[in-house]
Symmetry: C2
Subunit: 186 residues, 2 copies
């Protein structure tokens, strides 16, 4: 995970909320707000994990004066939809031919395996080649189990993944894809 990028995003968000150049995290956060407002799903981004070294008080209250970023052990987003546990992450790549698996840490990969084992829904939202794909955790695990490759070819993502509609509200209607994959026949 690109932490310097994360810091930059924090700053950017304070400056501009315009649509152009809106990054994947912001698109998902806005979609989650929509799902929450419309009472469709209860899904939040987890705060970025940090280790606090020093803290004190200033005129605004308690202030952290020194802290480091920690590598997350889980995925960034989780929550509840139609009684099901949902757990996913958002990854972007500029690579046009394959998605480098280095984007997914080992403990995140193991976390996805655990979620499936315990009956939850887990996936990645991958921004690649100007589209947003939902790739089910089972397809990621299948790929890793049957390949020595360090990246998932784009053709596999096109074949197994689902394109997520870009709209105004919600920005990225990934719940529609979840309905299709996991709730067909409900």
């Amino acid at each position: 995970m690109n932490y310097p990028g994360k810091i930059k995003k924090e700053f950017k968000r304070q400056v501009s909320h315009s649509n152009r150049g809106m990054d994947l995290e912001e698109l998902i956060n806005q979609s989650n707000n929509f799902y929450l407002e419309e009472n469709i799903a209860v899904i939040y981004k987890k705060p970025t994990p940090i280790t606090i070294v020093d803290a004190s008080f200033d005129s605004h209250g308690r202030v952290i004066t020194k802290a480091y970023f920690k590598e997350p052990s889980t995925l960034d987003y989780n929550g509840l939809y139609k009684g099901k546990y949902i757990d996913f992450d958002a990854k972007s790549t500029q690579n046009k031919t394959s998605f480098p698996l280095s984007n997914l840490h080992d403990h995140q990969y193991n976390h996805m395996k655990s979620i499936i084992e315990h009956g939850g829904i887990t996936f990645l939202i991958i921004s690649m080649n100007s589209n947003y794909y939902l790739l089910d955790g089972k397809d990621i695990i299948d790929f890793v189990n049957s390949n020595d490759r360090k990246s998932i070819p784009f053709s596999y993502i096109e074949e197994k993944g689902y394109i997520i509609d870009k709209k105004i509200r919600p920005r990225l209607d990934y719940i529609k894809v979840i309905d299709k994959i996991y709730f067909q026949g409900d």
Copy 2:
């Protein structure tokens, strides 16, 4: 939520891992580690939400040099057990006769209502009078709906709540109580 306490806890944890005086958060974290290691449940504490104001780089890498604590909109712990979404918080009170509802923020209370509505399991673990009680979200909402009181009498917690066993592994076997309340007959 007591944020100065949170900072102190961060420091304390670096200093000592001994059992004596172990606080509720630490007991739950250790229990969650046990459930994870034994492949029983996948439940994590969410990182404390902060707003980063300034960040830079030092010899250890990226360092946050100014950040403030944000009030959380959700509960501290969530995860997955037997295919069910689990969402809860841990609250301690020194009060012997009642649990002050000021411990539970309005948005946390509304979050609990949402979780129930969408088919999840939500509760509080309350440390009070030398015991740990699991009080189901529905009982909390029932109480608020039928009372003008600003605190839940201890007698109500004793009547509706479940005492959580204190053990070595896990420290607080709250999953056993979840089995009893939500999975009876499974």
